[in-house]
C-alpha cells in the first residue's frame, strides 16, 4: 500500500543541484531596477500621466527583452541639423577594484551613494535616504531598451537622446554604449531637471565607462 506522500515524492522527480545562480540573480536585479524607477517616477509626479511619459523616456516599459531588441531605434525628434557642442570633457577616473557596472565623474555637490552591475546612484552629501529611493538623485542605468526623446549629434559624432519632462521634474539623457569595448545597451541618466544643467548631464553620460561586468536592465 502506497503512502500518498511517498507517491507525491516520486512524482516530483529528482532535483539536480543548481550550478549557476546567475540567471535568477539577473532576473531579480532587472525586476528590482524596474521597481525602483517606477517608485521614483510615481513619487515625483503622483499619479499623473506625465509619470508614464517619464518612464517611457527612460525606456522603462515592461517589454520583454527578446521582443524588443536594442538594435532598432524608434522614431526620434531631430532638434537641429547642427551638431551640439560637446561639453568640456573631463577624464573619468579609471575604475578601481571596488567599481562594478558603471563609472563616471561625480559632479560637484554630489557623491556616489551606491552602485551595482546595472545602476550608479549619486546623491547630495548627507542624503540618508535608501539607495533604493531614486527621488532627487542622479541615476545612471544601463538598459536594453530603445532610446527615446530628442536625438542630438555631438561634435564627436556621438548621438545622445534628451528628454526633458518639465512637469515630472525629471529629465533623461541617453547614449548608446561604445561597441565593442562596452557591453551592449543604452546608458540612461535620470536626473532632477533643476539639479544639473543639460550640458552637465550630457557630460556625465558621455564620459561614463560601462564596465565588462555591467548588466543591462530590461523592461
Amino acid at each position: 500500500m502506497n503512502d500518498l506522500s511517498d507517491l507525491l515524492d516520486r512524482a516530483a522527480g529528482q532535483a539536480d543541484a543548481v550550478h549557476d545562480t546567475r540567471p535568477d540573480v539577473v532576473r531579480g536585479r532587472r525586476a528590482l531596477a524596474r521597481t525602483r524607477l517606477r517608485r521614483t517616477a510615481l513619487g515625483a509626479v503622483g499619479i499623473a500621466a506625465v509619470g508614464v511619459v517619464g518612464l517611457a523616456a527612460t525606456g522603462i516599459g515592461g517589454r520583454d527583452r527578446d521582443a524588443a531588441p536594442v538594435a532598432t531605434d524608434p522614431p526620434t525628434v531631430e532638434t537641429t541639423s547642427a551638431p551640439t557642442t560637446d561639453p568640456t570633457p573631463s577624464p573619468t577616473p579609471p575604475p578601481s577594484a571596488n567599481h562594478v557596472g558603471i563609472v563616471t565623474n561625480t559632479p560637484p555637490g554630489w557623491q556616489v551613494q551606491g552602485n551595482d552591475p546595472s545602476t550608479l546612484v549619486m546623491a547630495r552629501p548627507g542624503d540618508t535616504s535608501s539607495r533604493d529611493d531614486f527621488g532627487g538623485k542622479l541615476v545612471l542605468m544601463l538598459t536594453s531598451n530603445p532610446p527615446s526623446g530628442q536625438k542630438r549629434v555631438l561634435d564627436t559624432g556621438r548621438v545622445v537622446w534628451v528628454d526633458r519632462s518639465a512637469q515630472s521634474g525629471y529629465s533623461t539623457v541617453a547614449v548608446r554604449t561604445r561597441q565593442p569595448a562596452e557591453p551592449e545597451g543604452l546608458l540612461v541618466l535620470q536626473f532632477p531637471t533643476d539639479a544639473i544643467s543639460e550640458q552637465q548631464a550630457i557630460s556625465l553620460v558621455t564620459d561614463a565607462l560601462v564596465l565588462r561586468d555591467a548588466v543591462p536592465v530590461e523592461g
Binding site: 502506497n2 516520486r10 532535483a15 525586476a31
Partner: protein, 168 residues
C-alpha cells in the same frame, strides 16, 4: 543593504532551495516542466525584489513556498495563461522520476484535480504543512482546507486505488 550582499545571500538561497521549489512547482503543475520553471522564476524574482523584507521575516523558505503557491493559484485564476511569458528555455534541473510509470499515474491523478485542491494536497501531504499553515499559504480558512482536502483525497482514492487518510 548592499547589492552585493543581496546577490550573495540570494544566490546561496537559490543554490539551496531551487531544486525543492522546482519539485513543488512540478507537483502543483501536475508535471508541466515549462510551467513549473516559469513559476519558479517568477517566485525567485519576487523574492529577490523583496529580499530585505524576506530576511527580516526570518523564514525565506516559507516565504518562497507561499509565494510560489500564490503564483500558481493566481495564474490559474486567469482565463488564459500565456506561455510566451516564459523568459527562457526551462532548465533541465529536475531529473526524471525514479519510477516514470508510477510518477505519470500520480501526475495524471493530480491533473484531474482543480488547482486549489491540488495545492491543498501538495502542501498538506508532500510538504507536510498542517491545516493552519496550508490555509495561510493559500489565503483561505482552515475549513476550506479541510473540505478541499477531503474532496481531493476522494478523487485520488478513486483514481489511484489507495487507502488514504481522509483528514490528518
Amino acid at each position: 543593504m548592499r547589492s552585493i550582499d543581496r546577490d550573495t545571500e540570494f544566490a546561496e538561497f537559490v543554490t539551496a532551495q531551487r531544486p525543492t521549489l522546482l519539485r513543488l512547482a512540478r507537483l502543483l503543475t501536475a508535471g508541466d516542466p515549462a510551467y513549473a520553471e516559469d513559476l519558479v522564476q517568477t517566485t525567485l524574482t519576487r523574492l529577490y525584489v523583496h529580499w530585505p523584507r524576506v530576511r527580516r521575516a526570518g523564514n525565506p523558505v516559507g516565504y518562497a513556498r507561499t509565494a510560489l503557491t500564490h503564483a500558481f493559484v493566481d495564474e490559474q485564476r486567469r482565463a488564459h495563461r500565456r506561455r510566451e511569458h516564459l523568459t527562457e528555455t526551462p532548465r533541465e534541473t529536475t531529473a526524471p522520476a525514479t519510477d516514470p510509470d508510477l510518477a505519470d499515474v500520480v501526475l495524471g491523478a493530480l491533473r484531474g484535480l482543480p488547482p486549489r485542491q491540488r495545492a491543498v494536497v501538495v502542501l498538506r501531504h508532500w510538504l507536510d504543512l498542517d491545516t493552519t499553515e496550508t490555509a495561510r499559504a493559500l489565503g483561505c480558512t482552515t475549513g476550506t482546507v479541510k473540505s478541499q482536502n477531503a474532496k481531493a483525497l476522494a478523487h485520488l482514492r478513486a483514481t489511484l486505488d489507495l487507502t488514504l487518510e481522509d483528514q490528518r
